[in-house]
Symmetry: C2
Subunit: 217 residues, 2 copies
């Protein structure tokens, strides 16, 4: 079957418009893979992110060494992938995956002061929408312990690939096993039942922000 | 809130045993991010994979340039991440994500002949279990168009991080908004209803392999 790497060769799967990039970046759970080069070796780590305008926001601890390296202007690439389904074709070779993926190349810049604080709120609002209104604001100590970073989205330095739809039809010369089912098995992400912390009194419903998030998925 | 990058600093979240690595690699939908270095720049692409024994199998088109670069012995890293839930704490700073992630550093080796053919079947069997028994075997032409690759899993060149469980308890000095719910909102992946290809007669049920896969999730 085809891997996304293989699929990526198909020119018809590439997308050219920024809006297509934004759609892929804004879908899903805002988790991607950040990679850079350290001493000539690939370095890679999963990262939560949020796109706001033409920037991608990230954050990490001020104590994380590798992140400091990236923060210092090293070239970086963020890869985001949504697996949408398995495409069952009449051969393994023609079988495939439906997916949306984006790669953004850029350098990271460190945010400071109010920019950093609002970036951290933006990040939270994308992952846990509405939660920032339910809990106390960032303290100075918390802000000092967290590094907020931004990647500019620059024309010519990003790619988007989308594979969707069913399998290709068998060629007339091909023998297909009689009665073989072909098609797509969709994959999607769902929320489970919220699990309260021990400190939460019995019967207290999840916060309104959580109930809203669950109702939209 | 904390990103996985930040979480990764927590030593207690690291796992040391190969079995822990295998569990993370074998979970989920067998999709990861492969990164390498091209002309000093990070290069990254989503890839389907399968772990078989102490090797990770990958595949791509023989025509994919970047993959050829990696196949030629360039250093590579595969990153696999499962996002398991949002951890809602009493502050944004203490909020977090439950996740399992693995990074394996290695070089890729090109497989040939029977090794390549069996690797392609192994890959299919991990993603579309049982499908290889329902469709024709690989043809010579298909094998020639596909590159099968293997990464050896080498001690000291992989890391696993796991964050699970609820939020930390507030310190006694902290003010928590009265009646605030804290806990975990689980996230999981599910299959949707299979969508038949146009060639499939009305009423033909999905292949047994697909029905089995759906029943185990």
């Amino acid at each position: 079957m085809s891997s996304p790497a293989r699929i990526a060769r198909h020119a018809e799967r590439a997308r050219q418009h920024r809006q297509d990039l934004y759609q892929v970046l804004d879908a899903g759970h805002q988790i991607g893979t950040l990679s850079t080069v350290m001493d000539g070796q690939p370095w890679v780590v999963p990262m939560l992110y949020a796109r706001v305008g033409d920037r991608i926001l990230l954050h990490g601890s001020t104590g994380a060494g590798a992140l400091r390296h990236v923060a210092a202007g090293a070239p970086a690439a963020l890869c985001v992938t949504h697996l949408d389904g398995w495409v069952y074709a009449h051969t393994l070779f023609d079988s495939s995956a439906n997916y949306r993926s984006a790669v953004v190349h850029s350098e990271l810049a460190v945010l400071t002061g109010k920019d950093a604080a609002s970036a951290l709120t933006d990040l939270s609002d994308r992952m846990l929408p509405g939660r920032s209104t339910e809990v106390p604001d960032h303290t100075r100590k918390q802000l000092a312990a967290t590094q907020a970073l931004a990647m500019n989205i620059v024309d010519g330095r990003w790619t988007v690939k989308v594979r969707q739809g069913g399998p290709g039809e068998p060629a007339t010369s091909e023998q297909v096993p009689p009665g073989l089912w072909t098609g797509v098995l969709p994959i999607r992400s769902v929320y489970g039942d919220p699990v309260p912390a021990p400190r939460v009194p019995d019967g207290l419903p999840p916060s309104p922000s959580i109930q809203r998030l669950m109702s939209t998925h």
